[in-house]
Symmetry: C2
Amino acid sequence: MSQRVILVIYDIHDDDLRLKVAAFLKRSGFARIQKSAFSAPYTPALLSEVEAGLRRLLRERDRYDVQVYVMPRSSYEERIVMSRGYTPEEGEELLI
Amino acid sequence: MSQRVILVIYDIHDDDLRLKVAAFLKRSGFARIQKSAFSAPYTPALLSEVEAGLRRLLRERDRYDVQVYVMPRSSYEERIVMSRGYTPEEGEELLI
């Protein structure tokens, strides 16, 4: 099992670009953990792929902030989650 | 210097509750790194305080997901940031 986890969090103003980023992360094998947060087991290849893909999608775009973290699996698994009445996909379908 | 960093990411449906959570994190000494993401140097006391404060704010509320990570400082400092035309406070003032 991978010893590290990739976490991607983003805030993207444009609806269309935001949906494209989410779709790209899903295609790359990431799991959605919040509407604007995705995680996947770390591999060097996946990190390279996701960084390159995000840079390609964001090229010549504006008003965005995307952050990619690589953390130990323990940091990820021991995170504190407070959640109620929440599904990460909620709302997105309305925009498609 | 603290060897770890606390990262808080959230998705909160209610505007008023979302502003309260942001204000609480700022008061607790967190820095805003995205509209819905805050970070601070880890101490056991701060982690306890922030968890208790968030649980208090979220009590009897609905439609939220809040996640609190504690990661090595290296994971935080080596994160990849892609950002353009972005300020994390943008948009929030409109709601106040």
